[in-house]
Symmetry: C2
Subunit: 543 residues, 2 copies
């Protein structure tokens, strides 16, 4: 993983000059002040852990698995939101962990939690490091370790009769898929972070994949969980569903490491489909397209992939860097991508039934081209972001969900909040959106915002202000969008989670009594408050 | 509702004499000692609530909505398990509420909780009164009110775009269906208790309906909840799914009134299907039939109803009193019932696809007869139980679920535990079972046990011992079955809930740390411990 950006540096693609020109002309993007700092020049402050603490941790997991070198600490600093990247590109490491600890077993995790509870050292579970909501930057703490779970990377077992598999949390998604595919199975979980995210992260943050229309969200795939907490082990899930009390799996899913460290996940698996097909459809408007997707979600047939870009996203064709500015042949209307899986015969039958619905709903078939282009570029957006940051643009995403009847108002409110705030700051943005996941009762909206990083100041030779400026602008816009989401009845996050970034709005979403329930659960499992302090639940004393 | 049995007394059907003869010959069932007591002869002890408490409650909900008359109290005594019926038939009212309180609004519920918190009066939410797990018999209390929610019986709103409806908790299922059907919709939720159970009860106890293969369980239908607690109101659910923290709806669902009183439920709704069809299939063995159901659950197509009786249940044909002893034409093998819904064309297509799978899996089609017979008698079993009790038989049900690979061992273990324990007690039972619900990863098992009520004592003229005997025998058998469920890795309940009857095994199922999490949640929402004390969570001081 690129320490200051996304993914495998070998996959980076600089933006073609015409695109940079477009950004310049459309949004006033100007080249940034200079190159990011080099990794070897980034120096976090001295570790706040004393020798005794490091020795105790070394005894728990093996001395080789406690790392305090600069590179390890920098590579575990914050996540992958755009503000995170801008800070780390500037060499800002105030949120660096004091050590990186790599346990190899559930019992080692328990032991690390015991040591850290005794010494009041905070513990931040670290999977792929892909949080975009401040989920790796604890608050109100004196020292913390990043608990990197990469050594817990086994496919423990496959139950072919029950179609379940037991996976360890540090297994990255591509490796999990590869191990399952050797046995003929797939998870069917392909979020945009697929290449780097881990099984434990999917569970802890309720991940939602691009094929969720067909396979469901990750929290719908989980049937069992083992969780190490400072107070002992939780072992949950004896049946697909039960009437025996609340579903406590659903209390751990989405707890973002604040209640415990997930050390084992039992998930549904599916036979690898024989083939897949993707196609594009054009709708005259976002509303018309949304109505068509709603029909499929409510009455079927249900493709495995269903997404709909609004007019702006369709025009820009953001998913494919090479196609920016020419998403659709004549850049009009809204592009929907529909994906099918199964045997060729099954696909043909489902396609025919789906096409009948979409045609009746006013869709115009565009053939396989746009669908295959989307499929080919489905994990590319974070790489594209790096290139955009390199040329001085600011780009970030945010997302929400609500019931179908509230979708139009939610869409308008968030778009208006982002546009107005950034325009007022002198950096009018391009705001794009797509429906990324559909349910019978509602849908999620995923927004992408692109703007100049800062205002071209008079007398400054056309140079933009620094990243501090961009961060301040974005913070204002993001807060306005969050306010708009809550006011319009949406959830503060459908994909990304709460972290620290969404915490205040999450508290408004669930209300003070529900927040107190979470606090009381956390206190029971983590009385010293060492687990991800400030993430999900406000830190002690700040309530 | 019949106070001492099930349902509408007009629907009661006495067992035909040949059936009574069969029970006599097969299980040694002998006529009971005498008729149950009459309602007017049942006298609960004096109410333990003083005038001041009753006046305060009357002020909260209106004096007419606080009832302390014997009939109201007797009609709110315990639930509808067989032990509950045997006790109430004998006039045993030690668990009678001290008053029945009927609030008309959410705010009235809050006010009742405030009054009862201040006066340390326990509150037991009462919907249809159909609990079969001791969910209406609080423990460790001095006085309690039954909070009957029947006045909260509105269909509040229908959102046709989102396909959701807001329902009040006291709405009984048939009325909810009727109100929705006027608008063209159905919930698709038809548990055996359908005729009497309420929306709030479905949610509080995670109800599972007979069409769950098609519509899902009730906890999968709920997208929003309002809950009145002694500490205020919880208002949960802004989207079908969210990544914003744990799914707190799933903490309330299954909380059985111990955390709060559900005052509003937002559920998915579905257009009423144009038609329905049911058919029977025969499999050579329970294992073969289970494998066939598993194939449908995992790879589709998925009918809306899927159930499979084992050899004993098939032979007896319990679901249809008229057919006892002649379930299948030649009484061999295992009967599966498969149900379809949709337009006639849709049904024809799905039937064809389903038949291909079932035939390949070794099934023999029996035509529509057995399916229609099942459909016709689907809510009859509790009426049949009354008739069996009347002739001196003991009959009770219990159920569990686990993952597919564990189903055969779970089935054998529970059957053996029931058979051995009751045979050792001198009342060898007939143990029948069916797979009632299927999931891609597992299934539930629903057992029915019939035996003589007691041992024919020598020198007692062939009369059986009293209901105390039957209760003691059953308690032993039920505990053995519970132990077997936990040892075999099953959940202690897939349909019925925890109540007081399953509480100790539930604690073993989830473990002490998870139980402590529930206790801490309860304490936060109900610090005085007035809500359903002893149900789900052990009462304070008994931990």
């Amino acid at each position: 993983m690129l320490w200051s950006g996304w993914g495998d540096p070998a996959k980076a693609t600089p933006l073609p000059e015409p695109v940079a020109g477009l950004l310049r002309d459309l949004l006033g993007v100007r080249p940034a002040d200079g190159a990011p700092v080099a990794l070897e020049d980034v120096r976090p402050c001295s570790s706040r852990l004393d020798e005794a603490a490091l020795a105790a941790l070394g005894e728990a997991v093996g001395a080789a698995h406690v790392r305090t070198d600069d590179e390890a600490r920098v590579r575990h600093t914050r996540g992958k939101s755009t503000p995170d990247l801008l800070r780390i590109r500037a060499g800002e490491t105030s949120d660096a962990p004091d050590a990186v600890v790599l346990p190899g077993t559930h019992d080692e995790v328990l032991e690390v939690l015991r040591i850290c509870t005794g010494r009041r050292i905070a513990v931040v579970p670290f999977g792929g490091g892909t949080s975009v909501v401040g989920g790796l930057a604890p608050q109100g703490i004196s020292a913390f370790v990043a608990l990197d779970l990469r050594r817990l990377d086994a496919l423990v077992s496959v139950d072919e009769v029950s179609r379940t598999a037991v996976l360890q949390p540090g297994l990255r998604a591509p490796e999990a898929e590869a191990l399952l595919r050797e046995r003929g199975y797939t998870l069917g979980h392909f979020p945009q972070s697929f290449e780097w995210a881990t099984i434990g992260g999917f569970a802890a943050a309720r991940s939602s994949g691009q094929a969720s229309a067909g396979y469901g969200r990750f929290d719908e795939m989980v049937v069992g969980l083992t969780v190490a907490t400072p107070e002992g082990t939780l072992d949950l899930g004896r049946a697909p569903r039960s009437a025996a009390g609340p579903d406590l799996r659903q209390l751990v899913l989405g707890s973002e490491g604040a209640f415990g460290v997930i050390t084992s996940v039992t998930v549904k698996i599916h036979p690898v489909p024989a083939s897949a097909a993707y196609e594009g459809w054009r709708f005259a408007s976002f509303d018309r397209g949304a109505a068509a997707l709603r029909r499929l979600a409510q009455d079927g047939p249900r493709p495995v992939v269903l997404r709909l870009s609004d007019e702006a996203e369709t025009m820009i064709g953001l998913a494919d860097p090479g196609a920016i500015g020419g998403g659709l042949p004549d850049a009009a209307g809204c592009l929907a991508v529909v994906g099918y899986e199964g045997t060729p015969d099954e696909i043909a039958a489902r396609r025919a039934a789906t096409r009948a619905v979409l045609s009746e709903a006013g869709g115009e078939p565009l053939g396989d081209g746009p669908g295959e282009k989307w499929e080919h570029g489905r994990f590319n957006a974070p790489y594209l972001r790096d290139s955009l940051l390199d040329v001085g643009a600011f780009v970030e995403t945010l997302e929400t969900a609500t019931f179908w009847s509230g979708v139009p108002a939610l869409y308008e409110a968030v778009k208006a909040a982002l546009t107005t705030t950034l325009a007022d700051a002198g950096t009018p943005p391009l705001v794009m959106c797509h429906i990324s996941h559909v349910y019978p009762t509602g849908a999620s909206l995923y927004f992408t915002v692109v703007s100049a990083s800062g205002v071209a100041g008079p007398g400054q030779g056309g140079e933009t202000q620094g990243e501090g400026d961009a961060l301040a602008h974005w913070e204002k816009a993001k807060h306005a969008a969050n306010d708009a989401i809550i006011a319009a009845g949406g959830t503060i996050s459908h994909h990304h989670g709460v972290g620290t970034d969404h915490r205040d709005w999450y508290a408004r979403e669930i209300g003070p009594l529900a927040m107190d329930v979470l606090r009381t659960v956390k206190h029971r499992l983590d009385p010293a408050g060492i687990l991800n302090p400030g993430i999900l639940v406000p830190p002690a004393g700040q309530e």
